[in-house]
């Protein structure tokens, strides 16, 4: 009975004094939407789910600099890799682009026409880049600064479907300045 605590105490005495931590602890906000990680991955699980609903596992996220719409080097690399990945599958010629402004979609009240234009320009940058790789791609753009029209809701278009799917998802709150690119079947 007493042996174990004594042994543990002995171990603590000989080991605590000299050993330094291997890694500094990374502290995340308590309200993080996803499982905390010391090694974040792209795409996040929420983005993966969104793509899976469109019947695809070929998806990536890219980030834009604030108020900018040109692709960074990292973003171009992500798009290149995604294209390479898409070549492993047949007929992934339909590309869905979701683009955000620098404000979150869930806070719809603050979104202005300028936000709409910024998200639009970002989407166009991605489209141009991918068109240069393959001119056969068909694009479907989802501007994440506008709620879908009533008719779009009634006929459950991709635009309406995607926005309804992510509407209450905390995970999509931090997608400001981001774009999500999904390669799927036509």
């Amino acid at each position: 009975m007493i042996k174990i605590p004594v042994f543990l105490l002995f171990l603590s005495l000989i080991s605590c004094s000299s050993k330094k931590p291997e890694h500094k602890p990374i502290l995340y906000p308590k309200k993080a939407a996803e499982v905390r990680t010391t090694n974040p991955k792209n795409p996040t699980i929420a983005t993966e789910q969104l793509a899976a609903e469109e019947g695809s596992n070929t998806v990536t996220e890219i980030k834009f600099q604030k108020e900018k719409s040109n692709l960074t080097k990292t973003a171009k690399n992500h798009l290149k890799s995604l294209h390479q990945e898409s070549l492993k599958h047949d007929d992934l010629k339909r590309i869905i682009i979701l683009s955000w402004s620098d404000k979150e979609f869930l806070n719809k009240k603050n979104l202005t026409n300028q936000d709409y234009m910024l998200a639009e320009r970002r989407s166009q940058s991605i489209k141009r880049y991918l068109k240069n790789i393959d001119s056969d791609f068909k694009f479907e753009e989802v501007n994440m600064t506008k709620t879908p029209a009533k008719l779009s809701n009634l006929f459950n278009t991709t635009n309406a479907e995607i926005k309804r799917s992510i509407e209450d998802q905390e995970s999509f709150k931090d997608k400001t300045s981001h774009a999500i690119i999904i390669f799927t079947k036509d």
Partner: protein, 342 residues
């Protein structure tokens, strides 16, 4: 003119009686659909233009005992017309306020039901785009002394699985779950299922924060020789199952623990986590102190965990909180690793 009137009137009458007819059909089916289970629904709503069908108040009982073990307030089945027109069989399902009562009798009854199903029915024949469970509960009736409010294991349960089916072009089914464990631990689970192939494969990341260990006492007191008088647990874990055994690790962070242990004997692998926690309890942490460790495990034919090394490490790492909070993303399905390495 007369014909139009007759057709319109007939359509209206059909529309009015259709839900009742479907309800009778569904209840007849649920009465005899399984050798071990039976069920019934209270009401069915049709929103044909939107392609939405709602089943209200479904209950499932065990045939042997007549005991209800599952109730669902509403099941929304959403079959978008645009997919029907494109001859795509896709479906969105939303279950609201599900209440599942886990007991010793339920698991064999479900197994018996699955075994009775023809093999082709076990495989998903339609693709479920999105499967949601919202605002739900999992409870257990294994502890008769506990009231209906006390026997809840998971509450505020929300789950989403996307792309369920055997789609070789997109084999992964990403899954997320959020819940409250025993009313205190904030649980998040995220992972992927791969249903393509002979046996399902999966990987899982998990996190449970602010779990009050004293809430375990009501379940432990008859099964394990210890009681928590104080303590809070944060837990991070990753695991996967491919061809071999389940492999993974967990990182418990234990704050301000105080344990009364009446015996050193634990019931083998079943109580290994409790044993580790109790081992950490030997530190008698002050209320502001945290002990942490990382425990690799594998679970094949037998459960393997390096208990001795784990405890020693826990003590040596203990009070300085050396472990980083969060998962490492080091365990993933091979099919996904290949994608991410690109």
């Amino acid at each position: 003119m007369k014909i139009i009137f007759i057709v319109t009137a007939s359509l209206l009458i059909i529309r009015m009686i259709l839900p009742s007819l479907i309800k009778v059909g569904v209840n007849d089916y649920l009465e005899d659909f399984s050798p071990s289970l039976k069920g019934q629904v209270e009401d069915i709503d049709l929103k044909i233009l939107r392609g939405q069908y709602i089943v209200n108040n479904l209950t499932l009982d065990l045939k042997k005992t007549g005991k209800e073990f599952l109730s669902v307030e509403a099941i929304d089945l959403d079959m978008p017309w645009k997919d029907v027109i494109r001859a795509k069989t896709s479906l969105n399902i939303l279950l609201t306020k599900l209440d599942f009562n886990l007991s010793k009798e339920v698991v064999p009854a479900i197994k018996e039901h699955i075994a009775s199903m023809p093999k082709q029915d076990r495989a998903t024949t339609v693709t479920i785009n999105r499967f949601d469970i919202e605002d739900s509960i999992i409870r257990t009736s294994e502890f008769p002394s506990l009231t209906k409010d006390e026997n809840i294991l998971l509450s505020s349960l929300n789950l989403r699985a996307s792309n369920i089916g055997k789609n070789p072009e997109a084999p992964l089914t990403p899954l997320t779950m959020r819940a409250l464990v025993l009313g205190s631990g904030k649980l998040k689970i995220e992972g992927d299922l791969n249903l393509v192939g002979k046996s399902p494969q999966w990987s899982m990341d998990g996190e449970m924060l602010d779990f009050n260990l004293t809430t375990l006492n009501k379940f432990l007191k008859t099964k394990v020789p210890l009681t928590f008088t104080r303590g809070e647990l944060d837990l991070y874990t990753e695991a996967k199952k491919e061809k071999g055994p389940i492999i993974g690790y967990m990182k418990p962070f234990i704050k301000g623990l105080d344990v009364i242990q009446t015996d050193e004997k634990f019931d083998g692998p079943k109580h290994w986590l409790i044993e580790v926690v109790a081992g950490l309890g030997n530190l008698t942490l002050r209320s502001d102190e945290t002990a942490a460790t990382r425990i690799p495990f594998s679970f094949g034919e037998s459960f393997q965990i390096d208990g001795g090394a784990t405890l020693a490490k826990a003590v040596s790492h203990g009070l300085i909180q050396e472990q980083s909070r969060g998962i490492e993303n080091s365990i993933d399905l091979k099919v996904k690793q290949a994608q991410e390495e690109k």
